[in-house]
């Protein structure tokens, strides 16, 4: 019974923790401009993250070591450094976007300017990381993030023409004034949002924090194969709501307020209150995950003591990295850069870094020295290679498309 409860809790946490500021903004933006014509990318992205997160979970459960630690050992310091730099920079950019998202959610609820909330948000992230137990912070924000289910309720309440939505979802092409370049650009952005590198590093390091062993493989796999797809459904609900409300009105999503508007239209003030708490929890939870991931990647590469399973004094350099990253995020946002634009760019840059993140994972998951009998079979490897090809194409096309479309305009 305790095991079932643990698995259920893990799944719920995974659903609530799946959506972050990148998913919120990108899915709403794409829904408003393309309807559900890009919904297939979310499905492809969710399958990809499931595939690679499962590999990470298996590596941790079998070796007891986090993936980044093994990447450096298996591929050498130079290749490890390349992966470190790419993943770290993208994770830092994502952290900036998440802190901005927390401040924007607070601004929407209070009317106080987000720049005033932002130092408080960064401080709160540090405080929670410093004081709260790993399992507690993961569960609290993951479960509160479940409030984003209100997007799905709102979609049903808006009473869409389901046939029309299905028609859109099964016709993968640009519409109206959009062209193939913007369609491809936002496809890559959605892919980057679904497969953000920090998700796998956090997942694998979290496995070590929670001392996973072979017997925890069921929990890890249920989190991945049930929790992530249900989280993907939330992403599709956000896209659907925007498609129903904004697409016919010609409204482009450029602010977090617009992201929450379909819920307010469908469910009124109560719905708005719920969605704002959900957005706060999702972005705050993701800020914790990205801040921790910044510390994890550098500390694991350098071989420093890391993690929340030891006292902060024993992992001082790990905590210093987190503090420096939070200060950098705060200083960047204090330049009054638009957090929503940072989010849009962060998902595209994430797409660029994807092959560097996922290729080493595929290699480590094939090494019997680390995973023993649980190494990848031919089917997993075939899927892994297909996805690696997709990631490489997305990565190579990201910058040219960004230039051609002037950042998706």
């Amino acid at each position: 019974m305790k095991k079932v409860l643990g698995v259920t809790l893990g799944i719920l946490t995974a659903i609530g923790g799946f959506v972050d500021i990148g998913d919120l903004v990108t899915n709403a933006l794409v829904g408003a401009r393309f309807g559900l014509h890009l919904a297939w990318v979310v499905i492809v992205g969710v399958i990809g993250i499931c595939l690679y997160a499962e590999m990470c979970g298996r590596v941790v459960a079998m070796s007891g070591r986090p993936v980044f630690d093994l990447i450096r050992e298996r591929l050498g310091p130079r290749t490890g450094l390349l992966t470190l730099v790419a993943s770290f920079l993208v994770t830092l950019l994502t952290l900036i976007a998440e802190i901005g998202g927390v401040a924007l959610a607070l601004e929407l609820a209070s009317g106080v300017h987000y720049l005033l909330w932002m130092p408080l948000a960064a401080f709160a992230v540090w405080l929670v990381i410093w004081r709260v137990k790993f399992s507690r912070l993961e569960q609290v924000f993951g479960l509160l993030g479940l409030l984003l289910v209100v997007f799905a309720v709102a979609l049903f309440t808006l009473g869409p023409d389901w046939g029309q939505l299905l028609h859109q979802a099964t016709r993968p092409h640009p519409i109206g004034h959009e062209n193939w370049a913007t369609y491809a650009y936002y496809g890559i952005a959605l892919f980057g949002a679904a497969m953000t590198p920090y998700e796998v590093f956090f997942f694998s390091s979290g496995g070590v924090e929670e001392k996973w062993t072979r017997s925890d493989l069921v929990t890890a796999r249920s989190n991945v194969f049930v929790g992530f797809p249900l989280g993907g459904l939330l992403s599709l609900a956000i896209m659907g709501g925007a498609a129903v409300l904004f697409l016919p009105a010609g409204i482009k999503v450029e602010t977090l307020g617009q992201v929450t508007l379909p819920v307010a239209v469908a469910l009124g003030k109560l719905g708005l209150a719920i969605v704002l708490i959900g957005v706060f929890a999702a972005t705050f939870g993701a800020a914790l995950e990205t801040a921790l991931s910044c510390g994890y990647t550098i500390a694991q590469y350098r071989g420093w003591q890391w993690g929340k399973f030891v006292r902060p004094r024993e992992a001082s350099r790990f905590h210093v990295v987190i503090i420096v990253c939070l200060v950098l995020a705060m200083l960047t946002l204090l330049t009054a850069v638009d957090p929503v634009q940072v989010t849009e760019y962060s998902v595209v840059f994430a797409a660029m870094a994807l092959p560097l993140t996922y290729l080493p994972i595929l290699i480590v998951a094939n090494d019997p020295d680390y995973v023993g009998e649980e190494k990848n079979g031919p089917v997993r490897n075939a899927f892994g290679l297909v996805y690696l090809a997709l990631l490489t194409v997305a990565s190579a096309a990201a910058i040219p498309l960004m230039i051609i479309t002037k950042g998706g305009q």
Binding site: S110, G250, G268, K269, L272
Partner: protein, 143 residues
Amino acid sequence: MRRAVAVALLLVLVLSSCADPDQKLRSAAAQSARDAASEVSTTRLAVEQLRAHRLWSQSAGQMVEDAQKGVEKAASSFSSQQPSTVTSTRLYEQVTKTLDDAQTAVTAVRIALGNGDLAAAEQQLTALRRSDADLGRIGELAK
């Protein structure tokens, strides 16, 4: 091979510099109009939801404030265009006026909501709808 690439690049450069100035202005007008129309529609939606008690006043005020910035950005982006023919000058003036009207209506809503005057904000709904329709027509001038 290199020569072919150089010729192709030169051709692209020449063709892009020889683009029809009227067409270029029409494209810029359509883009700015669509951007502004999006903000006008957001403002209209926010006021309608506020009237229906489905939105808090500070959230609506925040959305309208963001929309005002968006319309200003669209208008300022179009104002930097350089009309060079009689036709494009006429279009420039017409689009500038429509963008100004949109900006005025959205600003009036922002001020009304800032003063807690929902009735004044509602009075702008007709102007917002008209603005939306005008911008929509300009938005269809080019892809």
